[in-house]
Symmetry: C2
Subunit: 474 residues, 2 copies
């Protein structure tokens, strides 16, 4: 493990170059998270698909349990049980527009992870960095348990547990646990835990802050630096179910899957489940006793238990639903937690938007009407008064505060952008597939994918390190 220890020191030193001036020393976070991980034995894998250009280069890294798709270059990094999905990388020649400038990619975009530590983190693409659209870069960065990196270039960043960095650019930033940030080009800022912040310059800004005492029930850290709280408990009970999936190369599913739908071999399907047409169930999604109506998506790290979806429901990365009944075309944002019980179910009406990082933990039955936007922390029906609005009412507003949320700018544009994004996700994932080639999405495209396992050295100085590996489709 000598080389692994050297690598850990290297990453700490590089991240601290950026973050010590911000007042954060990542050494403790990184060491306590690595403690007890099976870095030396876990295998990683990459997917070979006929629909995505392939290029992988892994150097001087540990990749235990991680998954890669598309074009990825990993150098001197530790990426544990993460998903790095390059299926939305832009191809050479694609025109991109940032503000008033349109430019063309001179080569295929690639995800590059350098001097970084990612733990159970999802990296998705859709980069918004105008400076180098060919390179989606994560450098000198530490990202903790179940963080989401989505279209966000990170240079010198710390993302807390369950934090989401969405469609942004971050340089020397600290993002607290369970914060959701989609706020453009950010530099040298420190974001409190539990802040939901969406800002588009000169257009609108949404800002909600969780009460810290509430948040601690869901996410906290013990003396040893171990993640605790209700989210960790929720995951702990279900983690072992993933093991048999990873240990076999089974080609069959415990559920009938329509031809035009996709269920990853690395998803868990338990109990009585129904998978509708054009559905997409990503790897590390967990579906138990649930019904997914036509065109619904269960993205990576989502958990859908004892729930029923009408069609075209999108559960973004890390969304968790228990005893929830979701109407048509509802968006369940990143890391949202909708937790009902058999008696106290959560019902969400059609066309609604559940904002990223929303917690609905029902102590009584909760009914959210159709076409509603909902955010924040809800345990009973009356909580909706200050934490939801009809889309129509919301769209009429300009600058307003309600409960712990403040909004400024064009609310109608905010809602429209969300709706467009949801439709865009549905199209991309193949929910609108009608048999025509050009309407194929991920659900249809990823049919021809093979998985390639690779393992670290099992002994000696290099124990835990992966060899240098380069794969391309030339």
């Amino acid at each position: 493990m000598k080389r692994v220890r050297k690598l850990i020191k290297h990453i700490i030193s590089r991240v601290n170059v950026n973050l010590l001036p911000m007042g954060l020393d990542v050494e403790q976070a990184l060491n306590s998270t690595l403690l007890g991980n099976k870095m030396a034995t876990d295998y990683a894998y990459y997917a070979l698909s006929i629909d995505h250009p392939i290029y992988f280069r892994f150097r001087e890294s540990n990749l235990g349990g991680s998954y890669f798709l598309g074009k990825c270059d990993v150098d001197r990094s530790i990426i544990i049980r993460s998903d790095i999905r390059g299926d939305e990388l832009k191809a050479a020649g694609t025109e991109v527009t940032f503000g008033k400038v349109t430019t063309e990619l001179y080569r295929d975009e690639i995800i590059q992870v350098v001097n970084s530590f990612l733990y159970k983190t999802l990296v998705h693409n859709h980069s918004r960095n105008p400076e180098s659209p060919e390179l989606f870069r994560i450098q000198n960065t530490v990202s903790m348990h179940y963080a989401n990196i989505h279209g966000t270039t990170l240079e010198g960043a710390y993302l807390g547990a369950f934090a989401t960095a969405d469609l942004s650019v971050m340089h020397n930033c600290i993002v607290g646990d369970y914060s959701y940030i989609q706020a453009g080009d950010l530099s040298k800022i420190c974001i409190d835990s539990g802040r939901i912040w969406i800002k588009v310059e000169n257009k609108y800004e949404f800002d909600y802050r969780y009460p810290q005492a509430i948040l601690e029930k869901y996410i906290s850290w013990d003396q040893e630096g171990e993640l605790t709280g209700l989210f960790a408990d929720f995951l702990k009970g279900r983690r072992s179910d993933f093991l048999p999936v990873y240990d076999s190369l089974a080609e069959t599913f415990p559920v009938w899957v329509p031809d035009n739908a996709f269920v990853s071999r690395y998803a868990v399907i338990k109990g009585d489940c129904v998978i509708g047409e054009n559905c997409l169930v990503a790897q590390r999604a967990y579906i138990e006793n649930s019904e997914l109506g036509k065109g619904s998506n269960a993205q990576e790290n989502s958990f859908i238990v004892d729930s029923r979806f009408a069609g075209f429901v999108v559960v973004a990365h890390g969304g968790k639903l228990v005893f929830s009944n979701i109407g048509e075309k509802v968006f369940i944002g990143f890391n949202s937690f909708l937790h009902g019980t058999e008696e106290n179910q959560v019902n969400v009406g059609s066309g609604s938007i559940v904002m990223p990082h929303t917690i609905i933990h029902a102590s009584e039955p909760i009914d959210i009407p159709e076409k509603t936007i909902v955010w924040g922390y809800i345990t009973k029906q009356s909580d909706l008064i200050n934490q939801s609005m009809s889309l129509a009412d919301f769209s009429k507003e300009k600058d307003f505060n309600i409960g712990r949320m403040s909004f400024s700018g064009d609310a109608a544009a905010f809602i429209r952008d969300f709706q467009n994004r949801v439709e865009h996700i549905l199209v991309d994932n193949g929910a609108r597939y009608d048999g025509k080639q050009e309407r194929r999405g991920h659900a249809q495209k990823t049919q021809y994918v093979s998985y390639n396992l690779f393992q670290p050295y099992l002994g000696g100085d290099k124990q835990g390190m992966f060899p240098t590996i380069v794969v391309d489709d030339s």
Copy 2:
């Protein structure tokens, strides 16, 4: 499969450049063998070991079901269910002596397979090519079912089924089915099926030829170019047993394995088996209801069924034993077939040498005394008269014929060389390990090995092709 079809045409054209002038068109052999193979779905794998320098480069090839270890470069080739084992590649700086010339390797030796088709073929190293000791090359070559390539550079060669090319150099050569050739530098020759030919220039020559009518019972080809005969039947009945082994990544064995022994995860162990200390059971070895005494080896593609080995027995690649009782330090040569029954067992005394490609198919109990050399085709005790001798008697001879075998030169040196080689194999494989680091062999070294699966494209033009992949330990 468009790219695969193009590749097949390419290989045929390149091999025919060498062999059409010799009167052989490989097109039919290659096409009929490929028919019905699961080229498009079978995954291949490479081993990552801490004891062997690693380098893999696979380009424009199909590698279905094959295994690679060490340093291998495969270019525009089809290698199906083959084992390419580079664990005996020489390191940079190694001195090698060919005749009177000693030279030093200026870089690590590498196995290179170019424009070739290898089918269920074992490639082992120990190269004897003085011209380029850094490169163990197989070019423009077709090798058929269960052939062995051992230390033999091949440029423009056809190896028939169960043929062995051992410690030679071959340029534009055709080697018939079940021939064993160890005869130095060969060019433009055509070797009949069933010839066992060992020649060391200015030293000795052993030459045995199977009666063709006998051989056809064991190996023949039907109208469709399908391999038939008793060898194919023998394998067919046992082939399916390998499937579950390849389909799982199980870390446990159905038998107790001493710490200093090695049983490959890709070997089959069935029924009641005993594995002694320092034993080596290679991948694709098949052991059933058998006992392997201390230091014994079961090499790749060997089958050991209802048999008992005293210590230090070496079963070379492709050796098959049924109801055979083998004394201490017996060598069972490549592709030998010792087939007894419960009533008619085959007993081989200690210190004996069963020559490569020997068939002992017992119709009555067969007893071979200790320190005997045996060759050819034996079904009853009296067949031994013309097809065996005591090592002592053999060593006294110079030029002689006995039965279908002719020998010339120094018989004592011939026996001595064989015995030295067997001891060398035992040492290399770790049979003599006594706890001291410098006495470790393959059985002890290969403890820390991880297996990496990789798969071909599953659809489109590239279906069946593997991506370009480069792996090294830099």
